[in-house]
């Protein structure tokens, strides 16, 4: 069949469908992107295709921290200057970039690849919690920093991990919660304000 519904040639229809599957892309955006690809030089379009292929072929998970990497172990786990006794636990690889940008952390990471979400059926066995427990059992680690989001799911995940690790005798800490820079007190929710007050510091 040369043409799909509405006279769209089949390869274009297929590309539109593929774009439509991406997060945040509606049918109209998918069409616009597909027709854009049609117009750009072949070299650019193939570069995109190749980049997508490379990501899927060459990116693997670090066998230690489960961060995305090209070489196993990842650059963080390989770096001997980093403090190997502290592990910062994050929800997703993007969170590592955010924490690295802050320039305030020199330990290792552990990526859970999700948060506990009971109502969507995401349980402990769907996250990489078991691997974290094994790293702690290996003995070198003295502190776990739970850097999950301060949401219900993030808090539940942090508390779950803390309880799971309690028998191992490792110190489990949580990122401080309070007001983000540039926030309005007036619009702050009660829990954030209460925690900000509890975590107040001398000027």
């Amino acid at each position: 069949m040369a043409e799909g519904a509405g006279g769209t040639p089949e390869p274009i229809g297929r590309l539109i469908d593929e774009f439509h599957r991406l997060p945040g892309i509606g049918p109209k955006s998918a069409q616009r992107l597909a027709y854009h690809i049609l117009r750009v030089p072949e070299r650019d379009a193939l570069a995109l295709a190749e980049a997508i292929g490379d990501v899927k072929r060459r990116i693997i998970f670090c066998s230690s921290c489960l961060n995305i990497t090209e070489s196993d172990p990842c650059s963080f786990c390989q770096d001997q200057r980093r403090d190997r006794t502290i592990i910062c636990v994050v929800e997703q690889p993007l969170d590592i970039l955010a924490i690295e940008r802050s320039g305030s952390f020199r330990g290792l990471y552990h990526v859970l690849h999700g948060l506990l979400n009971p109502m969507d059926g995401v349980g402990p066995e769907d996250l990489h919690i078991r691997e974290l427990v094994e790293r702690v059992r290996a003995g070198e680690v003295t502190e776990i920093i739970m850097a999950t989001n301060p949401s219900l799911e993030g808090e539940a995940t942090a508390m779950y991990v803390q309880r799971l690790l309690a028998p191992a005798g490792v110190r489990v800490t949580r990122l401080a919660r309070g007001l983000p820079s540039g926030a309005d007190l007036e619009y702050a929710d009660d829990i954030t304000l209460a925690r900000a007050l509890e975590g107040r510091q001398e000027l």
Partner: protein
């Protein structure tokens, strides 16, 4: 039909959140007069969102919404009660989420049910004040079944209406309650409940949550009730609630805090 106003106010309990696109979320809200509904909060996942903390699941909030084409849109949100003690405790979070899932799954959108709203509030408040999670969940299960029209028959045999002897008795979801020994063969599957468990269920049906919180339920009895009610809930829901698995995973954790666990005492307070 008079035209509906473009913006409206309601209070509500946030039952769940789903992310939408780059920075938006869809929240499922349980409200006193409009039942359960979904609405969109735009930009709520940006760090400077003014509504973010006020729309966390298991929060009771004052809401201002604008009518949208398909879904309504939150324009303002302010916390009434954040239930912080629930959030800070894993067992209580898990139980509250389980109750929220039942409230979500047992209802259809915009079906007015003030009783359910009151029940959800009562359960959140009890958990926030330190009520034991297990018995509170049982109370919620029994009450929501009644509110949804699936009230269990606990006073006489659900099949023949005959008198129930004070002995171990079958609780059969398909029969709709307790079934006497003679009817047991023709009633569907179920669990055998001891006399103590039956008394607790009868008591839970008739009292408010504060009074039920006074009943002391030991671990054996709590387990008996949990298993029996799980079967009943799954039967009427026609599926297993997803969050039950999480409640079980939390219960299996080491170092369960015993401060809130009920002492081992016979429940002799039932009728």
């Amino acid at each position: 039909m008079p035209e509906r106003p473009r913006a409206y106010k309601t209070e509500g309990i946030i039952l769940r959140r789903r992310n939408l696109g780059e920075a938006d979320s869809i929240f499922t809200v349980l409200s006193p007069r409009q039942g359960k509904f979904d609405a969109i909060a735009k930009g709520v996942r940006k760090p400077r969102s003014r509504m973010r903390g006020h729309l966390e699941p298991l929060t009771r909030s004052r809401l201002l919404l604008a009518r949208g084409r398909s879904l309504d849109v939150f324009t303002q949100a302010e916390t009434i009660t954040p239930y912080r003690a629930i959030r800070d405790d894993l067992e209580r979070s898990a139980t509250a989420l389980y109750c929220a899932e039942l409230a979500d799954r047992f209802t259809i959108e915009h079906a007015d049910n003030p009783g359910l709203y009151e029940l959800m509030l009562a359960v959140l408040e009890a958990l926030d004040l330190g009520a034991p999670p297990g018995p509170t969940a049982r109370y919620f299960e029994l009450q929501i079944l009644s509110l949804m029209g699936y009230e269990l028959q606990l006073d006489c045999c659900a099949a023949c209406r005959g008198r129930l002897e004070p002995v171990e008795t079958l609780l059969s979801p398909s029969a709709g309650g307790l079934v006497c020994e003679r009817c047991r063969a023709k009633a569907g599957a179920g669990r055998l409940l001891g006399v103590r468990a039956i008394k607790v269920l009868r008591y839970a049906r008739n009292v408010d949550i504060a009074a039920f919180g006074e009943v002391r339920i030991d671990a054996v009895l709590a387990n008996e009730l949990e298993v029996a009610m799980a079967g009943v809930v799954s039967h009427f829901l026609e599926r297993e609630p997803r969050s039950r698995h999480f409640v079980e995973a939390v219960a299996a954790l080491p170092g369960r805090p015993n401060a809130l666990a009920p002492e081992i005492v016979r429940s002799d307070q039932g009728p």
